[in-house]
């Protein structure tokens, strides 16, 4: 049986968006290596509650790596040291007895801290609402093969759609750029026939919203791709740029007239 771990946590504590925050040290004693990272924080929080202290606030939901809610920078890396792993799927066996662990929230102007390690990722929702959808009447599903889609397009679309919108790309990017997220959302629709009618409108609207949210811009470091728990590729950013260039070159303002032959 593996030995339990004794760790030291340096946690960013911040009461709310308006207050200044600071790092506070907490011991995490007798931690089973089989715990997930979030379970370790639950144990630390129970200790804090018992002592009458304010527990550490952090985002979490499904705890199975598919919802994109958990978020924190663990020792300088979003979601911690393992590749393609969300914080909830990170296990304490990735750490050694006696380790010091620094926990920080996602750092970006567009992601204001709500409390401690929890940030407001509403900016992502507003980017999606700006164009990350298709406008079709939804009714009962049509026949599976009514619309032929090549296997490869379906695969590429699904790879992009694997994005869970956690924001690790923004957190990892030295410029706090959201381009990996935005490009994944643009690509998963852009690979499919249903995404075509609004393809050019979508890329312009989503990028305008991304800029309005004051995310940074891509300088092609590649940190986003390395941090992404779902393995979203930077190729998507290139596809987004390509769509944006085409959309800008062929843009026509909306008119009330037209269509009269």
């Amino acid at each position: 049986m593996t030995k339990n771990l004794n760790l030291t946590l340096h946690v960013w504590r911040q009461k709310n968006a308006k207050c200044d925050g600071k790092f506070v040290e907490y011991p995490a004693a007798d931690i089973s290596p089989d715990m997930s990272f979030l379970e370790m924080l639950d144990v630390v929080n129970e200790g804090l509650i018992r002592k009458g202290e304010e527990p550490i606030t952090f985002d979490h939901d499904c705890r199975e790596g598919i919802c994109g809610t958990c978020s924190m920078v663990i020792n300088g890396r979003p979601h911690g040291p393992r590749e393609r792993t969300t914080t909830c799927q990170l296990h304490m066996r990735s750490f050694k007895d006696g380790d010091s662990i620094t926990l920080e929230p996602w750092r970006a102007e567009a992601f204001p801290v709500i409390k401690d390690l929890m940030v407001d990722r509403g900016a992502f929702d507003r980017i999606i609402a700006a164009g990350g959808f298709i406008s079709v009447p939804t009714g009962s599903p049509q026949d599976a093969n009514a619309l032929p889609i090549p296997k490869q397009s379906a695969d590429l679309s699904m790879d992009a759609a694997a994005c869970i919108g956690c924001g690790a790309c923004v957190a990892a990017c030295p410029n706090a750029s959201a381009m990996l997220f935005v490009s994944a959302k643009i690509s998963h629709l852009g690979h499919l026939p249903q995404g075509q009618p609004e393809r050019h409108l979508r890329v312009r609207d989503m990028i305008a919203q991304m800029d309005a949210e004051e995310f940074g811009t891509c300088t092609n470091h590649g940190e986003c791709e390395a941090a992404c728990p779902k393995g979203i590729k930077m190729e998507n950013i290139a596809r987004m740029n390509r769509d944006f260039i085409k959309a800008s070159l062929t843009y026509r303002p909306a008119t009330s007239g037209g269509g009269v032959g």
């Binding site: 920078v73 700006a130 309005a212 995310f215 940074g216 470091h221 190729e235 987004m240 740029n241 260039i245």
Partner: protein
């Protein structure tokens, strides 16, 4: 206000202008970058005439000044000046946006994928801008040259590099150019959207090959003068 309404308000506040957008300015950066690395490549090739002796280099310089009835060089200068201006404008505004995007930094941020070249683009760019001004004052106008002769570019080239401090600055500037080009040449393909798994290796290798060629040959000039190979 619903999320959708907030988005419409946000996008309208920002507008849809190409040059106002982040990606639009990156495309400007990439397009002017292509002009500039195209220029340094041709500049490097032209200077190879120095290895062919005084007559060849002076003849080449005369050709540059007289092509298209003397208009050619001014067309080149206008294009380059515009490209440099737009490149610096895009770099400055994007950098300011990027710094504003993360007002509170991390206590420790680990770099996994980025390279030293990619992280120092701003610094290598600033050093190159200073170098370009010096280079123009040194070998174009002759203002900071010890004994400049408008009629003899080859002599200016040789005498200029005989000053070790000047030669050293040229070499340092070329190493900065190497860092800047290595990341920039690859990066511009990404900004233009030219990414495809089939060409990923080619993009990296082209950037490495062009950088090594341009920087290697350019560094050879001051070294050749200092060692007396060109005299």
């Amino acid at each position: 206000m619903s999320v959708a309404e907030q988005s419409i308000a946000g996008a309208e506040a920002r507008g849809h202008g190409f040059l106002a957008s982040s990606v639009g300015r990156k495309v400007v950066m990439a397009a002017t970058g292509v002009i500039l690395f195209g220029f340094v490549t041709v500049h490097m090739l032209g200077n190879l005439t120095s290895y062919m002796g005084a007559e060849a280099m002076n003849h080449y310089a005369e050709f540059l000044h007289t092509m298209i009835h003397g208009m050619g060089i001014w067309v080149f200068r206008a294009v380059l000046l515009t490209a440099v201006g737009l490149h610096i404008w895009a770099a400055t505004t994007l950098t300011l946006d990027n710094m504003a995007a993360r007002p509170v930094g991390y206590r420790n941020q680990k770099n996994i994928a980025s390279t030293w070249a990619s992280r120092t683009m701003r610094w290598s760019g600033v050093i190159l801008a200073v170098f370009i001004v010096y280079h123009l004052l040194h070998l174009t106008t002759g203002t900071v040259h010890p004994n400049f002769d408008h009629a003899n570019p080859y002599a200016n080239f040789v005498n200029g590099f005989k000053v070790p401090a000047a030669a050293a600055f040229y070499i340092v500037a070329q190493l900065c150019l190497g860092l800047h080009m290595w990341h920039g040449v690859w990066s511009c393909t990404q900004s233009f959207g030219l990414a495809h798994p089939r060409y990923d290796n080619l993009r990296r290798n082209f950037a490495t090959g062009l950088t090594v060629l341009v920087v290697g040959v350019n560094i050879s000039y001051p070294i050749a003068v200092l060692t007396g190979f060109i005299h």
